[in-house]
Symmetry: C2
DNA sequence: CCATGCGGGACTTTTTTAGACCCATTTTTA
DNA sequence: TAAAAATGGGTCTAAAAAAGTCCCGCATGG
């Protein structure tokens, strides 16, 4: 409270502080993730003039935070320390801390962590979310547990940012789904393997194409190996997953226009593991055959880490991750603020209904 | 510690923060003590251009901290709140908090409070010191006690800044000395009366010219009234006093050149109540007759509040107020930093002696 | 071995800032 | 009560700072 008070006063007597602080924080953060990086590249990234950027760089270099060399700009050790140390203060200044508290109430989950920035405007935000989620993930690990991970860019970012180093013994990493989409880096299988490698843990793969006909699926499911892995997935104690937007994911899974229409009519907005959720968080559709398996998962798991960002995913996040007491959400500022807007709107709606 | 850490990081990522903060703090503080005050007067005060100052004023007005009216500039309620609330943060930023801790060790007193700024450059500092000391003074008051105050500009400032309002019952305010100097506002008598009025307490006056011959003094001392007051002074539980520079005060008390030379030869650097102290804090001279009385005072008193500022008073402060466990010092930044310098020098001297 | 991207420097244009007034009004002073 | 001083606001101009746009020599990586 005392800190909040001072922060407020500080903003009034030095109103240029937030702007300066955020600007430089974003610069340092970008360099952190992209070093070594050139002056012009940075300028283009921030849509600012070269001279303007150079001034900032010079200033931060004079402060000993940046190192400017022939090969490009990178952070000094102090710069690295600062970027991590100042994040909580910045979040408080930007109102993200109070945003987190509000979302905690609205979404009724275990934890909400909001990363500054918007995924849609700034690619670095994804990495930052990945880093935050990776940290949480490590906290959740205990010996002899199964960790299930989903696919997608968000989980890929977590794998990227996960620190290398041994995890508790006996951990196994499994993909929560089969193959999906074309980009190999975002496949659950690949991500599971990469996470396992970082953790120096074992992993299993699920060799199952995702969009399979009903009959074919029934046959494949009789395969012992696949049955075994599916059982492993279902007994996972930690679950890491992203969130899909319903219609996009349906299209991505080669659903027919009728099927998509059907889903939309049922109010599907969010998707995860091939399960489709409506705004109230109810399952209104699923990939045939696997649906039941995966619906069970939520009942036995201990920790669920959800990583998602971008304003356009807000509805899906509420639908998929809301009202689940075991969920820990890692969001970006864009999604977080949008969720608050939606909640405000629906609250207004309720008010109007009376 | 956490706060210190953040402060440090904040200074590195926004190095212009201290400058901005201090500049505006000083502006607000000046307005606080001088409102309503005009733009040009302020500009002249800060030795800055009119336009520069106007920009700052506009900014602070937009922040709702200043009110700009035909009659002049004054603080809004928020502005008043801010000026008082931000002081501890500012002190920490300027390193005054750590300065206070160092002085506490060096001077071995009960408390050291350092006010930002230098008395010699900025007249407002005196008022700020007065306000700080007045606050401490009120904390020290208990029913039925005697409060003794000395003369001088510092104590006058305390009287000025003392809030109006009742004190614990039965308090009596007495001047610690008789008349001294020409300026009526700085007489101990007048200050005692003003303090008493603010506290809604009773007061007594000491009708005794300070520079009296030895024989005349002996006669006057037989006066019952005077004896009574002198006894009251000696049984004071709270003592508020400033600090004089030895040679200046000697001259002020109409000492002959020989007497002054004698004092200087004895190493006198500081003065209070007509007692002269050398650098080690020993009494090396006094106004005839009253010396013993006043030397006793320090032995029975509970709280001693010392107010002094300006670099040139540093030696005197160390001499008079150092090494007294009951003393609470209110200093300005100028004096405080100079004291630290002196301590460093003498420490170096000791080092060289080995 | 060359092409790309790097930091640093220089030059010009644009924008911002700062200084020096004057004005109508209010407040203080004589 | 009248004169004098001080108030905020406005404006014009000079100065300075900022920003945009190049070019250069160099290292690095394909």
């Amino acid at each position: 409270m005392m800190l909040e008070l001072q922060k407020d006063y500080l903003k009034r007597i030095v109103p240029e502080l937030p702007e300066l602080l955020v600007k430089r924080y974003l610069l340092l953060r970008k360099v952190y993730y992209s070093a070594p990086i050139g002056r012009r590249t940075l300028a283009a990234y921030f849509h600012s003039g070269e001279k303007v950027l150079r001034k900032e760089v010079d200033l931060l270099r004079e402060q000993g935070l940046l190192r400017v060399e022939k090969r490009g700009i990178s952070l000094t050790q102090s710069g690295i320390d600062l970027v991590t140390a100042i994040t909580p203060y910045l979040k408080s200044l930007l109102g993200l801390t109070s945003l987190e508290e509000k979302l905690l109430e609205i979404l009724k989950v275990k934890r909400v962590l909001v990363v500054p920035g918007n995924l849609e405007d700034d690619e670095v935000v994804l990495l930052e979310m990945g880093r935050a989620a990776a940290k949480i993930l490590r906290e959740c690990l205990t010996p002899e547990m199964i960790l299930a991970v989903s696919g997608g860019t968000s989980c890929a970012a977590v794998a990227d940012m996960l620190s290398e180093g041994p995890a508790p013994p006996g951990i196994e990493v499994v993909p929560a789904r089969g193959g999906l989409g074309e980009v190999v880096d975002y496949q659950a299988n690949i991500i599971a393997a990469r996470v396992a490698k970082k953790l120096r843990a074992r992993y299993r793969l699920l060799h199952l194409p995702d969009s399979l006909g009903e009959e074919a699926l029934q046959i494949v499911l009789k395969n012992e190996k696949i049955k075994e892995i599916l059982e492993m997935i279902n007994s996972a104690k930690v679950l890491l997953h992203g969130i899909g937007i319903a219609d996009e994911m349906a299209r991505c899974r080669n659903a027919t226009p009728e099927e998509i229409k059907k889903l939309v009519n049922k109010g599907a907005v969010g998707e995860v593991f091939g399960l489709f959720f409506n705004a109230k968080g109810e399952v209104v559709g699923s990939i045939p055959g696997l649906g039941l398996y995966l619906d069970d998962l939520n009942k036995h798991v201990h920790h669920v880490i959800v990583v998602a960002g971008g304003r356009r995913k807000a509805e899906a996040i509420v639908a998929v991750a809301g009202n689940r007491a075991r969920n820990q959400l890692v969001l970006d500022e864009g999604a977080a603020r949008r969720i608050l807007e939606i909640a405000g709107e629906s609250a207004t709606d309720e008010y109007l209904e009376r």
